[in-house]
């Protein structure tokens, strides 16, 4: 049986990446994710891997771009202000169709913001961040176990579709410790015929590039990329449902907010309110199917977020605004207590009745 280990969320990401076959990490220090770099700095030299502290987030994402183009499983990690700096590279990586894993252990913003947990980079992660038409697969872990399992999943999805997978975590899950297990599986290996390896005189040169000066070519490239994104939307949406079978009200929350929300759902049930929870695990693709199923049975949705209301827009889109959606939120590094979420559930019940 697999061994149970007590680990910090950030360390779980690093260990999972190594187990997924990642041997190249490029990063730049920023709170609250620096444990990932520290773990890599310690481990990589011992296993024939590369840890390199870059001069900036911009340099680190471009090192990732180079390593990804060279065909390697590669990652970087940062927190909110640092991810803004990586946005240029994320756009180039998307425009060049190379796979990478990027971790954002979110802190409060905008600007330098704070160092306490936040989910205020939802827009940045799911709607773009960098310039141009592109998407990233966005995975939202809600436990230390998921920090590990979604990291491994993230590498596989990135390689499968030649996209960036982003782990959108937050300072709480990054810093907290929980027991986890690692499955004893070999990393999946994907064929990368486009990789920069040197031609060895045996093939035409490979070119990794995002420049298309002819507009019809660029349009074609973008159309093709969106066909790939449509495949991802069709196949890869993940979510968890909790007490949704007979639910009349639906709380929606991801990451650390979902753990608070779950407690509130249990408390509301004790008061006789039939409420359930949908927890999106992929934020892009957004689990629209879960909402299409729920919108006819529930009277209202309550979005619980650590921001000023970002995911709520996707809930409204996924439900076609058929049912009211209220917002229960804290921001700036504050986390709502279960009592605040319970109050929001009670208010939704009052409003909908």
């Amino acid at each position: 049986m697999a061994e149970r280990i007590l680990m910090k969320g950030n360390e779980a990401i690093a260990e999972a990446a190594i187990r997924a076959g990642c041997r190249h990490y490029f990063g730049y220090p920023i709170t609250p994710q620096t444990e990932i770099a520290a773990y890599m700095a310690k481990k990589m030299p011992k296993i024939g891997g590369v840890f390199l502290q870059a001069e900036s987030e911009i340099a680190s994402i471009n090192m990732v771009y180079g390593a990804a183009a060279a065909g390697m499983r590669v990652m970087t990690s940062s927190s909110s202000p640092g991810v803004s700096l990586k946005a240029e590279g994320l756009s180039y990586i998307a425009g060049s169709d190379v796979p990478a894993l990027v971790v954002n252990v979110q802190r409060g913003g905008p600007g330098l913001g704070g160092i306490q947990p936040s989910q205020s980079d939802y827009f940045q992660a799911t709607k773009g961040g960098g310039h141009g038409d592109y998407r990233m697969i966005v995975l939202a872990p809600a436990s230390v176990q998921e920090m590990a399992s979604l990291t491994i999943k993230g590498f596989d999805l990135a390689d499968k579709y030649c996209v960036t997978s982003m782990i959108l975590a937050d300072g709480t899950i990054g810093q907290m410790m929980e027991p986890i297990t690692f499955e004893d599986t070999e990393p999946k290996v994907y064929d990368k015929p486009w990789a920069l390896t040197g031609t060895e005189g045996k093939r035409k040169h490979n070119v990794v590039n995002s420049l298309y000066l002819k507009p019809d070519e660029l349009e074609k490239k973008n159309f093709e990329r969106y066909e790939k994104y449509a495949e991802i939307e069709k196949n890869e949406a993940m979510w968890e449902e909790y007490m949704m079978d007979d639910a009349e009200y639906c709380v929606v929350a991801f990451g650390i907010a979902s753990r608070v929300a779950k407690n509130a759902v249990v408390a509301a049930r004790e008061e006789g309110i039939k409420v359930g929870l949908i927890r999106p695990i992929t934020l892009w693709p957004f689990p629209t199917a879960a909402f299409e199923a729920a919108q006819d049975k529930v009277k209202a949705f309550i979005s619980v977020e650590l921001n000023m209301g970002q995911m709520i827009e996707d809930i409204r889109l996924a439900t076609g605004c058929k049912k009211p959606v209220s917002l229960c939120n804290r921001t700036g590094g504050m986390i709502p207590g279960p009592d605040e979420v319970l109050e929001a559930i009670r208010n939704a019940k009052k409003g909908a009745l």
Partner: protein, 250 residues
């Protein structure tokens, strides 16, 4: 019949898009000839910049990647750290390398990253139509310094080779020019050394090539080459600024 002259194998058949009289063609050819002579075309991975040479990925026959503006040394670092057995080079202009990409340049040099950097300094932003570069000379008229570069307003041009040579890290820093046959021949020698250093595991080697931009300088190609001699080279003297293995036997 004996072949006395041919295109280097390290260049593709794609016609260059460069303006008439632009020395990029010469510099591409020098890099390609060196790759041929060292027999590294099959091992080489090139990093193209943003600037006039952005489409270098179409011209070099080796594997190529196109980097974001200024980030070529970081991209090259990522590749080289993954594939140390390959020969990785960047080809960058002055806006790319010495303005937006200065941090990447300095830090890859400081790390003595085992890559080769070809730095084309023509004292102007070419592709965007002739704006002031970090290497534009005092008084130089450009689109964004229409009254001449006023050093009291926007500072002094940066001597990249001299600056990098103060670092402990880099192996080899040299400045060459391509304004006459003698200088072109010497430029090739420096480029060859910069590639040999990488093959021999010696580390960061940068060749600054003082070049011309007749189009945006508003000169004929001949006058531009003369301006290199009369105005560029006094500010940017040719020479080897750092060579850690100087004097070592071959």
């Amino acid at each position: 019949m004996a072949v006395v002259f041919e295109k280097p194998k390290s260049l593709t058949d794609a016609p260059f898009h460069y303006c008439p009289g632009c020395p990029h063609g010469i510099i591409h050819r020098l890099v390609a000839e060196v790759m041929d002579e060292l027999g590294i075309e099959g091992k080489a991975i090139g990093v193209a910049p943003v600037g006039c040479a952005v489409m270098a990925y179409d011209y070099f026959a080796c594997d190529m990647i196109e980097a974001p503006h200024g980030r070529a040394p970081a991209v090259a670092t990522g590749i080289k750290r993954c594939r140390p057995e390959n020969v990785v080079f960047t080809y960058q202009g002055d806006g790319d390398l010495a303005s937006i990409g200065m941090a990447e340049t300095v830090h890859s040099a400081a790390r003595n990253e085992n890559i080769t950097v070809i730095f084309v300094n023509n004292a102007i932003y070419g592709m965007t139509g002739g704006q002031m570069a970090p290497t534009s000379l005092p008084g130089q008229v450009t689109q964004t310094s229409p009254y001449g570069r006023d050093v009291n307003h926007c500072g002094w041009p940066i001597r990249v080779s001299e600056m990098l040579s103060t670092l402990e890290g880099p192996e080899y820093i040299a400045r060459v020019a391509v304004n006459n046959v003698k200088n072109v021949k010497n430029a090739k020698k420096a480029i060859k050394k910069a590639f040999e250093n990488q093959i021999n595991g010696k580390g960061f080697s940068l060749v600054e090539v003082v070049s011309a931009c007749p189009t945006n300088w508003g000169m004929t190609p001949k006058a531009a080459l003369e301006w290199i001699e009369s105005d560029m080279l006094p500010y940017y003297p040719i020479g080897v600024y750092k060579d850690r293995s100087a004097g070592e036997e071959k």
